[in-house]
């Protein structure tokens, strides 16, 4: 039995082989059981069984698949079946090397999935190989994720004013008071320290960063000059339509913050429709300005979105019927999504980091979490680094440029 389940010892295997050699009926049965095992291993997922549910797909995957299927169907209608793919004759898809995705319209043509993969390739590969940590003094070793009372950071003998996003340099000396707990975001993950403790920031780096760092790790822990130098915006702009910041892509919130680029004196009508069940009444609200807390709309308060859903959000400038005054985006809710309230000041940066480290990347959730930071921290370097990632991936060129400029200005200072 252990031989079939793959956990037999060498001795058990040898004994079993001996038994098989002496007993043709046993060998026959064993070979048939192996055939049954391999048949199930390969084709089991095709069988309809109630307990098996496919994993959810990201919006990017849905879009990529729709694009591929639409092309096939067009080609089927126009020319009949296309020739079989030949790997020898056709070059592999070449992903665009940029942190910045193409704007929505062009993504439809080029494949949003490809752009996302490109960003990961760039950030995880190109940037790391070309700009491996230079360990300069200004490269963050860690970030504070919340500030417990009494926590002190000293740099070059001076006490620093600390916030929930403070970037710590390797030589910073940190004092966590007795009974307090502090969390630090490092390239290797989240590190917790309980007081009383006094240590240098470099001691937080207890594990090596992963060989293939996530995009968030790269953006947060590479020297700023390297991040800025590598993130060359592609041509094209997200100018058409309204720039929605969140919800975008995948979200872990069933009551997501709705945040878009507003214009003074204008209001917008919002509609969210369930793409999996057209019988679900849409969520509608009119004449709103950004941001809209989901639970602040009376009619929505008791109607959170559903987990594992695919939704379309439509933003239309109130009273403007022009097709250019409306924009649609689709987003998915994760199977693990919850209705937890908006992040507090203290946990906002941590939540943004978690969204940036998730798979799939929750780009809209990064921006939603950063929006919960106090105004003075929203444009501080750590938040801007994460915004750079989110704006770039979402193709929000103007916002990306603005964030990059603010970071460059900071570098120059």
């Amino acid at each position: 039995m252990r031989v079939l389940t793959g956990d037999a010892t060498a001795r058990e295997k040898a004994e079993f082989e001996q038994a098989l050699a002496q007993n043709p009926l046993l060998r026959e049965e064993f070979e048939e059981l192996k055939a049954a095992r391999e048949a199930f291993r390969e084709f089991g997922p095709l069988a309809k069984t109630p307990e098996a549910a496919p994993a959810p797909l990201t919006t990017e995957q849905f879009q990529r698949l729709h694009q591929a299927v639409a092309q096939s169907q067009r080609s089927r209608r126009a020319d009949g079946p296309r020739p079989r793919h030949s790997h020898a004759s056709e070059p592999r898809r070449n992903f665009l090397p940029s942190l910045v995705s193409l704007p929505r319209e062009r993504r439809r043509l080029a494949g949003m999935w490809a752009a996302a993969a490109a960003a990961i390739l760039l950030a995880g590969g190109f940037l790391v190989t070309r700009f491996l940590p230079s360990a300069t003094d200004t490269t963050p070793a860690a970030y504070l994720a919340g500030v417990p009372a009494g926590l002190e950071v000293r740099r070059a003998g001076q006490s620093l004013p600390v916030t929930s996003t403070t970037a710590l340099l390797r030589g910073d000396r940190i004092t966590v008071p007795a009974g307090a707990g502090a969390q630090f975001i490092t390239a290797g993950g989240l590190v917790r320290k309980t007081g009383p403790a006094i240590f240098q920031a470099r001691e937080l780096i207890t594990t090596s960063p992963p060989a293939k760092p996530s995009v968030a790790q790269t953006v947060l822990f590479q020297p700023l000059q390297a991040v800025l130098a590598a993130t060359i915006p592609v041509t094209g702009r997200n100018g058409a339509g309204i720039a929605l910041h969140t919800p975008r892509g995948a979200t872990a919130s069933l009551t997501p913050l709705i945040l878009w680029k507003s214009a003074p004196g204008k209001t917008w009508d919002i509609a969210i429709t369930d793409e999996f069940n057209r019988n679900t009444p849409p969520w509608r609200t009119t004449a709103r300005t950004s941001p809209v807390e989901f639970t602040s709309v009376a009619a929505w308060k008791t109607r959170p979105l559903d987990t594992n859903g695919l939704y379309k959000i439509t933003l239309r400038e109130t009273g403007n019927s022009s097709p250019f005054a409306a924009t649609e985006y689709t987003f998915t809710t994760l199977p693990t999504a919850t209705s937890r309230p908006t992040a507090t000041f203290a946990e906002a940066f941590l939540r943004a980091w978690q969204a940036a480290n998730s798979d799939p990347l929750r780009l809209g959730d990064i921006l939603a979490a950063l929006a919960a930071l106090p105004p003075e921290l929203q444009d501080a370097e750590p938040a801007l680094r994460l915004k750079l990632l989110a704006y770039g991936q979402l193709g929000l060129q103007d916002d990306y440029d603005a964030a990059a400029t603010m970071l460059r200005t900071g570098v120059a200072r």
Binding site: G6, L33, A39, A68, S72, A88
Partner: protein, 205 residues
Amino acid sequence: MSEDTIHLESLQAGEQAAWTRAFPALMEIALHAARHPAIGLSESDAQEEAVRAISELAEQIGTVTTRNHLMALLTKITSNNAVSCARHNRAGIRDERKTESLEQRQADAGDAGEPPPPLAASLTALEITDLVKLIERALAGVSERDRRLLREHLLEGKTPAELACAHGLTAEGVRSAILRTLRKLRLALKNNPRLMNEIRDHLRY
């Protein structure tokens, strides 16, 4: 997987909503075929091949007769493309003077007790359809717990010890349950001697 995510007629009619509903199930099937350990594709190549296979399936959707036929055809397309991709990739490492044929890799894998090469390469789409029907019939008479144990062991790679811990059983109990289910599958396969022989021949190769 839930039966209502695949509506063949709507897919054949090119209804976008039907494709949207079907994509998770189709992607899972295609990825499973592309990730066959004996083929050895990287995850990004497997994802790429899965999408490509679904797009080819869309071209051939008019020829599909049943849901199981659709799944079988998708598996067949993915498997063929994945093997082709793996050959292409291996041809590309000649520069490193580390030429390795897929057959050699599969032979090595077989010696090491690793999974054999994909069965989908040896079976036709219709044979796969029959095999899936046969698996479904056999599993219909198995308890949900035993189906889960088999699935988690063979498809998710969990060991009997891990499953014992997760399901509150002994490792021996898990092995017995897996063997019990495999025996039911074996009996079902024996009712289709042609398929049984095909699979056994394939495993000998």
